[in-house]
C-alpha cells in the first residue's frame, strides 16, 4: 500500500513565454487617480471640508461672541493685515522667536559638544535634561520677570529653555546612534576632530537633529505665544499673543480667531515649507528616512 504522505509523481512541464498581447503592462493613471496621489491635494481638500464645517456650525450657532463664522474670521484677518496691526504683531513675534531659537541652538551645540567629549559631560547633559525637559518653560516666566525685568530678556530666557533641551537631547542621541562603521570609515580617512564632527557625526545624526529642531521650534512657538498672553507689552509693541489678548478684551472675537489663524498659518508654513524642504533635500534623498 502506498504511503499517504508520498509526494505524487508529476510530469515535467514546459511553457512558451509570451512577448506581446498582455492586458496591462503599464498604463498611466486617470487624472483623478493622479490628483488623489498628491498629498498637497488631499490635505487641501481636508482643510476645505473643515472650513466648511466651521462655517456651517457657526451659522447654526449664530453667536459671533462665542464662535464667529469662518468668513467673518477671514474678513477680520484681511482687515487686520490692511490696518497693519497683525503684520506688526507677527513680525515682532517672529523676530523674538528667531532670537530665542538661535540662542537656544547655540547653547545646545555647546552642551552637546561637552557631552560628546567626556563621560562626565554626557552625565551632565542627561541629568540636566531629565530635570528641565519636563518643566514647562512658561512656568519659569515669573522667575524670569524678576531676573530680567519686563522685556525681551525674559522672553528670550524662556525661549532658550524651550528650545535647548529637546535639541541637545536629540542631537546627542543622534551622535550616539551614528553607525560604528561610519565612525571607523571617518577615522580611517584621517579626519581631524572638527572634520570628524562636521563631516561624519552631524550628517550621520541628521535625522535625529532634524527631529530636535522641529520639536524645539514647536516648543518655542507655543511658549512664546503663551508668554505674550501673560505680558505682551514691552517697549511699546506686542506680539501675536498680545494681539489675541487685547482683541479678546475688546470682545473682537473674529479678530481673536484671526490671530489664532495667523499662529496656525505660521506653524503650517514652517512645517510644510521649511522643514519639509530640508527633509526632502537631506535625509530623504540620502535614504536615511522614508
Amino acid at each position: 500500500m502506498a504511503d499517504a504522505r508520498a509526494v505524487p509523481e508529476r510530469p515535467e512541464m514546459f511553457y512558451s513565454v509570451a512577448t506581446a498581447g498582455f492586458p496591462v503592462v503599464e498604463k498611466s493613471l486617470s487624472a483623478w487617480e493622479k490628483l488623489y496621489e498628491s498629498g498637497v491635494f488631499r490635505k487641501t481638500a481636508l482643510l476645505i471640508i473643515m472650513a466648511a464645517a466651521w462655517e456651517l456650525y457657526a451659522r447654526w450657532l449664530n453667536n459671533p461672541l462665542l464662535v464667529p463664522t469662518f468668513s467673518a474670521t477671514v474678513r477680520a484677518f484681511f482687515a487686520s493685515i490692511k490696518s497693519g496691526a497683525l503684520p506688526q504683531a507677527a513680525v515682532y513675534t517672529i523676530s523674538m522667536l528667531l532670537k530665542g531659537y538661535v540662542a537656544g541652538l547655540a547653547i545646545a551645540a555647546l552642551l552637546t559638544a561637552l557631552a560628546s567629549s567626556s563621560r562626565l559631560g554626557a552625565d551632565l547633559l542627561e541629568t540636566l535634561t531629565a530635570m528641565f525637559n519636563p518643566l514647562p518653560s512658561i512656568a519659569l516666566l515669573p522667575l524670569a520677570l524678576i531676573w530680567f525685568g519686563l522685556g525681551a530678556g525674559s522672553v528670550i530666557f524662556v525661549l532658550i529653555h524651550a528650545v535647548l533641551w529637546s535639541v541637545a537631547l536629540n542631537t546627542f542621541a543622534g551622535f550616539r546612534s551614528v553607525s560604528p562603521t561610519w565612525r571607523m570609515v571617518g577615522q580611517n580617512y584621517g579626519l581631524s576632530r572638527a572634520g570628524y564632527i562636521a563631516r561624519i557625526l552631524i550628517p550621520g545624526a541628521f535625522p535625529s537633529i532634524l527631529t530636535g529642531l522641529k520639536v524645539g521650534w514647536a516648543f518655542a512657538w507655543r511658549t512664546l505665544i503663551a508668554a505674550e498672553l501673560v505680558f505682551g507689552v514691552s517697549s511699546g509693541s506686542g506680539g501675536l499673543g498680545w494681539f489675541i489678548f487685547e482683541r479678546k478684551n475688546q470682545l473682537l472675537i473674529a479678530d481673536v480667531f484671526a490671530g489664532l489663524l495667523t499662529v496656525i498659518l505660521f506653524g503650517l508654513l514652517v512645517e510644510n515649507l521649511i522643514f519639509k524642504t530640508i527633509e526632502n533635500r537631506t535625509v530623504r534623498r540620502w535614504g536615511m528616512q522614508i
Binding site: S179, T181, W182, M184, V185, Q187, N188, Y189, G190, L191, G195, R199, I200, P203, G204, F206, T282, R285, W286, G287, M288
Partner: protein, 259 residues
C-alpha cells in the same frame, strides 16, 4: 629575502565586556610582503576580525608589535584602508562619486581636480560609471561593495584591509566579486589582507593563507594557495587539508564548503 611590508609579532588582543576580559587573539605572528594576497581564515570567534582591526589601528595590542614599513602602527590612517562587510560603509549623504572624492581629498590631501579624475577612473574599473551620481541607498549590496573597493583602491593604501567583504552577498554575486578582485589585483598588484571564514574563498582569493583556531585565536598554520583546490602529493585536496588543520580529525563531505 626583502623586508616584510607588514609584520605582526607575538600580538595578543584583549577586549573588555561589562563582565569579562576576553582574549580574542593570543601571540599571533605573521609577515606580509608587497603584493601579497594574504588571507586570514578561521571559524567565527577566532579573533580574525579583531586582528584586522588591530592592523587598522582601531585596537591597540596588549602584547606584541605591529609594524608597517618598520614603523609601529599607532592608530588608524589612510595608509591602511578598510573594506568592511557591512553595506552601510558608504556614507549615505554622499553620492558614489562624492564618497570617493571625499576619501581622496581628506585622506591624501590631493587636489580636487586630481581626485575627481582618479575617482572616475576607479569607478570605471568596477563598472559603475553610470551610477556615479547615485546615492548609495539606491544601489544593490554587490554594487555598494564594489564602490567600497573602488574607494579603497583609489586611496592607494600600502595595504587594503578587507573584513569579509563578500560575506553578506548572495553566492553568485560573491563568486563574481572574487573574480573581479583578482582581475583588479592583476592590474595594480596591490597588497591585501583579507579575512574570511569560507575555505573556498580563502583558496580562491589568497596566495598565502593563515589558519587560525578559536578561543582564543591562535595561529595553526600558514600555507600557500595557487587559487585552485589542488591535490597534494598524497592526493589530498587543499580544502581537505585546511579542514583537517582547522577542525581536526576526519573531514565530512560538504562541511564548510559554501562558496
Amino acid at each position: 629575502m626583502t623586508a616584510p611590508l607588514l609584520s605582526v609579532e607575538g600580538v595578543t588582543l584583549q577586549y573588555r565586556t561589562k563582565e569579562n576580559l576576553v582574549t580574542a587573539a593570543y601571540r599571533v605572528s605573521f609577515n606580509l610582503f608587497r603584493s601579497d594576497r594574504f588571507v586570514v581564515l578561521g571559524p567565527s570567534g577566532c579573533g580574525k576580525s579583531t586582528l584586522l582591526k588591530a592592523v587598522g589601528g582601531f585596537i591597540a595590542p596588549t602584547e606584541g608589535q605591529i609594524n608597517l614599513n618598520g614603523a609601529n602602527v599607532a592608530g588608524p590612517g589612510p595608509d591602511r584602508v578598510f573594506v568592511f562587510q557591512e553595506f552601510d560603509q558608504l556614507l549615505p549623504w554622499k553620492t558614489v562619486r562624492e564618497n570617493i572624492v571625499f576619501a581622496l581629498t581628506t585622506g591624501r590631501k590631493s587636489s580636487r581636480a586630481q581626485a575627481e579624475e582618479r575617482t572616475m577612473h576607479f569607478i570605471a574599473k568596477v563598472n559603475l560609471t553610470e551610477f556615479a551620481s547615485s546615492y548609495p541607498h539606491t544601489l544593490s549590496g554587490g554594487m555598494k561593495q564594489r564602490v567600497a573597493i573602488a574607494r579603497a583602491m583609489a586611496m592607494e593604501p600600502e595595504i587594503l584591509l578587507m573584513d569579509e567583504p563578500f560575506a553578506a552577498l548572495d553566492a553568485l554575486t560573491r563568486t563574481r566579486m572574487q573574480e573581479e578582485l583578482l582581475q583588479l589585483w592583476e592590474d595594480t598588484k596591490f597588497t591585501v589582507l583579507f579575512v574570511t571564514h569560507s575555505i573556498p574563498e580563502a583558496i580562491r582569493v589568497g596566495n598565502r593563507i593563515l589558519l587560525m583556531s578559536a578561543h582564543p585565536g591562535q595561529v595553526r598554520a600558514e600555507i600557500n594557495s595557487r587559487g585552485t583546490d589542488d591535490q597534494d602529493d598524497s592526493g589530498k585536496l587543499l580544502s581537505a587539508r585546511i579542514h583537517a588543520l582547522l577542525f581536526g580529525g576526519e573531514i565530512q563531505e560538504g562541511v564548510a564548503s559554501h562558496g
